[in-house]
Amino acid sequence: MFFTLLRLQALKSFRSTSFAKSALATGFMIFIALLLLSYVFFAGLFLGRIIELIAEGRDALDFLNSGLIYFFLVEFMYRYFIQKLPVVELESLLHLPIGKKRIIQILMLRSFISPLNLIALLLFLPFGIQDIQEQYGTLGFISWFGTLLFFSWTLHWFMLWFKQRFEDSIIGLLVVFATLILGGGATFMGWYNIGELIAPMFAMALTSLIPLVVFFLLCVVAFILAFRYYVQNAYLEDLSDEEDVRFVNQSFGFFSRFGVAGELANLEWKLIVRHKKSRTYLMLSAFFLLYGLIFYTNPQYQRVEGIHPIFIFVGVFITGIFMIQYGQQFLSWNSGNFDFFLSKKAGVESLVKGKYLLFLSISLVCFLASVPYAYFGFEILMVHLATFLFNIGIMVHVIIYLALWKPKPMDLNKGAMFNYEGVGAAQFLIIIPLMAGPYLVYLPFSLLIGDYAGLIALGISGMIGLLAFKPLSQLNIQKVLSNRYEISSSFRQEL
């Protein structure tokens, strides 16, 4: 049975109309994952040395133990953002005599096979073998290392439950914020040092088996929590008490000035706020407005003169996150009713224009919301302005152009359970090649003349893009129009 289900999964992806696109994305993902894992492994090999360098005079093990909790806090964060939830076609399996528990078990097993679950292993195994086994013997090593491993895996199962349970709710984001503040913030503000508080527990693991047993049990409990939640909710309908009609009749009068395209922008806005998946994207853009805090406060990136190149990345990200994320599935959002647009006069053209309008508006809102970053320096405001112009002048066309390559149908209305195709590592990694664009413009000028010249180049190229908006957007519109038969048939095909 296990292999039958696996085979079905494989067949599904092979036969998908957008196989080439997903294959390329998967290939890229695997490459990045291997690269990062090998970095982690090397970092693990030299962990002892690295600690000696940072913590002069302190015992390496003590230092590591007091830092471990930060590692797990960071793990909590990255798991929240990139750990994917298992997806299965529940409808076509539920009525067969397979048993929900069996389906869910397979789902869970598959979710566990993930590079994220190797990070703790690769990072701490070499150090454990080199240092701890020497000092505390094999038993101490097993107990310490096992505690770490089960801590990490507990987070895995916990996250499966947490993300599904609180996805798209304020509580979820609040918990993540609270974790961030309680962890890093508290130490930074000097309320208490969480690292020192938790350190004795890891120290205890060196000589006693109790922490190992405790974390093993926690891991089992987290697994059961997730497993039971998934089994209980393996139904076709949504879990939540159907969202209130809180978003009804929300539209922007501002869009109406743009005629049919404006109407469709309004329509798209309704689509976004009325579907869980797209709403998550919107909330993420709000969340990423805070992204700058990590970089702009970091002394490592402070320069007396000029601008650290990484700020360009941050600027593009902050002012363009919504179009980068949402735009990646440009037409897929409308896959359920693409025929509707096809059957209207100038429908597809207005649809694309409406989306442009929406992207530009949200980008503008993000830019305005990021103005307070000027507190960290005037140059940051300039970076944001230049990247904003570049985003709306050039990037938006590039993103849409790429997204139009074999768009994949997406079912927005399927019960949200097990349909969490939304935000995963892929959505973030795809950004990396996209980022080549702004740097191609920025770096030559900033290296040859100066950082501000680079910014001006970004801004001017963005403005040229804006002036040439009509022909550039026409390129994308024509691309949709000339491929409309292919696109619409692929949207109709996949059930």
Binding site: T4, L11, K12, S92, L94, H95, P97, Y235, L236, E494
Partner: protein, 231 residues
């Protein structure tokens, strides 16, 4: 065979299904009719445990469908195309089901032979994924799949919809034959009064989630239904 008690489904204020008591006995051909939104598909989904009832329960052979899944091997169903694995060809789909149900290849072959007439050479042996089939052929695949694995109960939602007239007649014959030979309990919802009164020995009429007629007399079924629907 199937017993419903105090069954209720509610979305917010709107009650979409409210059935205090209903029993479907073994070997019965149970027809379900009603206008759009009467709750036919919801009822089927609740029986299949695809959707949760707000209150009440459904038991199949005395087992609560929510608590135990053993009944799934006794029940075959085809409600809509989402129940198919659309990215397989029809042959592959049947082959997959064969493994799931634990049938032998000979079993599958003899099962599919029953459908030769209905399939009309348009389904099997074609290099075409299910998602590319026409709606009528999709339905045929689904019905053949629902009847696999010697089920005791078969539930079909609008089986005649989208079928051409000759396929409709063939399907009717097929259902009658299965009913005769294998004593299968059929649950069929349909808007086609002629077909459903012809094959079913009991017709239940739903209106806004409530059972308002329960007809068992074949001779008067048609006239009573016509009287209701012409209103």
């Amino acid at each position: 065979m199937i017993q419903l008690s105090q069954l209720k489904k509610q979305y917010k204020e709107a009650i979409v299904l409210d059935i205090p008591e209903l029993e479907i006995s073994k070997g019965e051909c149970f027809g379900l009719v009603g206008n759009n939104g009467a709750g036919k598909t919801t009822l089927f989904r609740i029986i299949l445990d695809l959707v949760r009832a707000t209150s009440g329960q459904v038991t199949i052979n005395g087992v609560d469908v929510k608590k135990d899944e053993s009944w799934k091997s006794l029940v075959g169903a085809y409600l809509d195309e989402h129940m198919l694995l659309a990215y397989l060809t029809a042959d592959e789909y049947f082959e997959t089901l064969r493994k799931i149900y634990g049938l032998s290849e000979a079993d599958l072959k003899s099962h599919l032979e029953k459908f030769t007439e209905l399939f009309n050479d348009e389904v099997l042996g074609k290099k075409k994924y299910i998602r590319d089939l026409s709606k009528g052929n999709l339905k045929k695949v689904g019905i053949a799949a629902a009847l696999m694995g010697n089920p005791e109960v078969v539930m079909l939602d609008e089986p005649f919809e989208n079928l051409d007239p000759s396929s409709q007649i063939r399907l009717k014959k097929l259902i009658l034959r299965e009913k005769e030979q294998s004593k299968i309990t059929f649950l069929i919802s349909s808007h086609d009064l002629n077909h459903v009164t012809e094959i079913c020995d009991r017709i239940v009429l739903l209106e806004k989630g409530k059972v308002i007629r329960d007809l068992r007399e074949k001779s008067e079924m048609m006239s009573k239904l016509e009287a209701y629907f012409t209103g």
